[in-house]
């Protein structure tokens, strides 16, 4: 039983009762080098045998996947932003053309060169955040959701009875009920693979190392260095998302480097685990229950009729 409901917590697996456990593993998704190829989406579906969940044209840029869900555990968002002025930022992507030649490096920033009316592309591969304080796990009434020895959060399919409580509890809108099946599903951080020392399918398939898998502490250091690099290059909008252990969910096991406000990518700007207020909720429920007893007693006092 988890004893800690909010705030920084270093030993997540230990807090959940695992003794002698491996270090906490996670994802660092560096969206500045995402090229929107969706190899992560495909690899995830293939490895985890996740069924097809609708073939529709959304009209949302190149994003026909649309959102994370019971049958989409990696989702690549495509944001097309009109830009006021053209600018080139070398994001360190591999480019084509002769190195150090006469031409300016063709290394693509994620912006077009056309001046006024240009478009900036933001692409980001979203995934379950494997929160330090996971609301889905806290509210699950059957114990189907559990904390693994790697500090990740996984659904046990043979226990879930499809009550759906985890769905509105998640502050990121990740987990969902699979229609036709009735149980809740989400990213497992490839629990079966990492237990064997392998890399999760999405990170393995990512051609640009936008998705990096590893020990969370090390990923955080790496992300801090990458952010410094980008800031030095003048990429103003760059920021880490979910890397801060002091945030409302105690930091994410899967965190991001973003180039704009989180809500632009469909992420909540300041998520808080709902169970942070659990004490206050139960106290108010208790007071109201006592109030109901009082109403009952008062109703019988006095007149005989």
């Amino acid at each position: 039983m988890s004893s800690s409901l909010s705030g920084p917590l270093h030993d997540v697996a230990g807090d959940a009762g695992h003794e002698d456990h491996p270090p906490r593993m996670g994802f660092f998704t560096d969206t500045s080098v995402c090229i929107g190829c969706k190899a992560c989406e495909v690899a995830c579906k293939e490895w985890n045998l996740v069924p097809e969940d609708g073939l529709s044209l959304s009209g949302m840029s190149y994003d026909n996947t649309q959102a994370l869900g019971a049958s989409t555990w990696r989702h690549v968002a495509f944001v097309e932003q009109p830009t006021g002025r053209a600018s080139r930022t070398d994001l360190g992507m591999p480019g084509i053309g002769p190195p150090g030649g006469a031409e300016p490096p063709a290394g693509p920033g994620q912006e077009t060169d056309s001046g006024e009316g240009g478009v900036r592309w933001l692409m980001s591969s979203d995934v379950c955040k494997h929160c330090t304080h996971a609301a889905c796990l806290d509210v699950c009434p059957t114990g189907s959701l559990f904390r693994t020895e790697f500090g990740t959060v996984v659904v046990q399919e043979d226990i879930c009875n499809g009550c759906g409580y985890c769905v509105p509890a998640c502050p990121y809108g990740v987990i969902d009920i699979r229609p036709g099946d009735g149980r809740a599903f989400k990213c497992t951080l490839c629990y079966d693979r990492i237990g064997e020392g392998m890399t999760p399918a999405c990170a393995q398939a990512c051609p640009t190392e936008s998705i990096q898998y590893g020990e969370l502490d090390e990923l955080r250091e790496r992300a801090g260095r990458r952010l410094g690099e980008l800031q030095e290059q003048g990429v103003d909008g760059a920021r880490l998302y979910g890397a801060d252990p002091d945030d409302g969910v105690g930091g994410d096991g899967a965190f991001f480097l973003l180039l704009d406000e989180p809500e632009v990518y469909g992420l909540p700007p300041d998520p808080v685990v709902t169970t942070r207020d659990l004490g206050s909720m139960w106290r108010h429920v208790g007071a109201a229950a006592l109030g109901l007893v009082g109403v009952g007693v008062a109703s019988f006092i006095g007149r005989r009729r």
């Binding site: 009434p141 509105p168 990121y172 809108g173 909540p268 300041d270 429920v285 007893v293 109703s299």
Partner: protein, 307 residues
């Protein structure tokens, strides 16, 4: 690169997932749980003060409410054949887990008490079962507020201080109202008083809820949930006043006022349920308060640094 003024969301899509809970199953369960829990309190009072007709009506209401509520809850599961997994663990962090452990014994105890009352058999055991149900009743009527509030749904979570009182009041109104409908007026005095007190609590708590929540409280005032809440307020106020002033003299008034209050309790639960759904579907209710929080924190940090 200076980003343009950024939109609130990704193609207008919700940030959080709207609940997959079914209508009418869940709002109906909220009503039935409140009715059953408060009826158990009413039944015990009637037993202590010697009002057998009132006791019988309230015992049957408690038992039927819990029974139908259990059916609604199991029907709401997307894997109903696994409903027993609800009793696999007991987790204080999950109001649904705690609630299952309240509802299961309450259902059994209230059914035993009602059966004993109706058949006249095993009166002492029946009475003991009734006492057990009474002990659990107030929790059954109010835990559902934590069930809704312990989510990321803005209109529910932010209302976690007031919702338990709205639900307690609404449960008392429903239990009092139902008892008024089926009990002779000379025994229904406590039911009328419970109805009126419940109505007062519910109206006051609802008022405070909508005024404190500000922008996040909009769904309680606007659209379909807003209309449901308004209809519930009017019925509660009219039913409560009529029952208190004239319910003791006229069986007709007592019945009609009681029915109005039961209907009001149903409407309140559907209104609150749908307001939460609306606040989950529109990303602005998730994004704007969070942005505001970040701005306030940044301003505070800046002033600390300056000071």
């Amino acid at each position: 690169m200076v980003p343009e003024a950024s939109p609130d969301s990704y193609y207008g899509r919700p940030i959080i997932k709207p609940p997959t809970w079914k209508t009418p199953d869940v709002p109906l369960y909220l009503f039935l749980g409140g009715l059953a829990g408060a009826s158990a309190v009413l039944a015990e009072g009637a037993a202590v003060t010697g009002r057998p007709d009132l006791e019988r009506v309230a015992r049957v209401a408690a038992s039927a409410g819990a029974g139908l509520g259990t059916v609604a809850l199991i029907h709401d599961l997307h894997r109903p054949e696994r409903f027993l997994n609800m009793l696999r663990v007991l987790k204080p962090t999950s109001p649904l887990s705690v609630g299952s452990w309240i509802l299961a014994p309450f259902s059994g105890l209230s059914a035993a008490a009602a059966a004993s009352d109706l058949t006249g058999r095993l009166p002492r055991l029946g009475r003991a079962a009734g006492m057990g149900a009474t002990a659990l009743g107030p929790a059954l009527a109010t835990y559902t507020a934590a069930l809704l509030a312990n989510t990321a749904v803005p209109a529910w979570h932010d209302a976690h201080r007031e919702l338990p009182f709205v639900f307690a009041g609404s449960g008392a109104t429903a239990a009092g109202g139902l008892a008024c409908m089926f009990t002779p007026t000379d025994q229904a005095g406590p039911a009328r008083r419970m109805l009126a007190a419940g109505a007062l609590v519910e109206l006051a708590a609802s008022e405070r809820l909508t005024s404190r929540l500000g922008m996040v409280g909009e769904p309680y005032r606007e659209g379909r949930p807003g209309r449901l809440m308004k209809a519930a307020r009017v019925l509660t106020a009219v039913g409560g006043t009529a029952a208190l002033l004239a319910g003791g003299r006229s069986r007709t008034v007592s019945t009609v006022a009681g029915a109005a209050c039961v209907a009001a309790s149903v409407l309140t639960r559907f209104g609150i349920f749908e307001a939460g759904m609306a606040s989950a579907r529109d990303p602005k209710y998730t994004v704007e308060p969070q942005r505001e929080r970040l701005r306030a924190r940044a301003a505070q940090a800046a002033s600390t640094m300056a000071g």
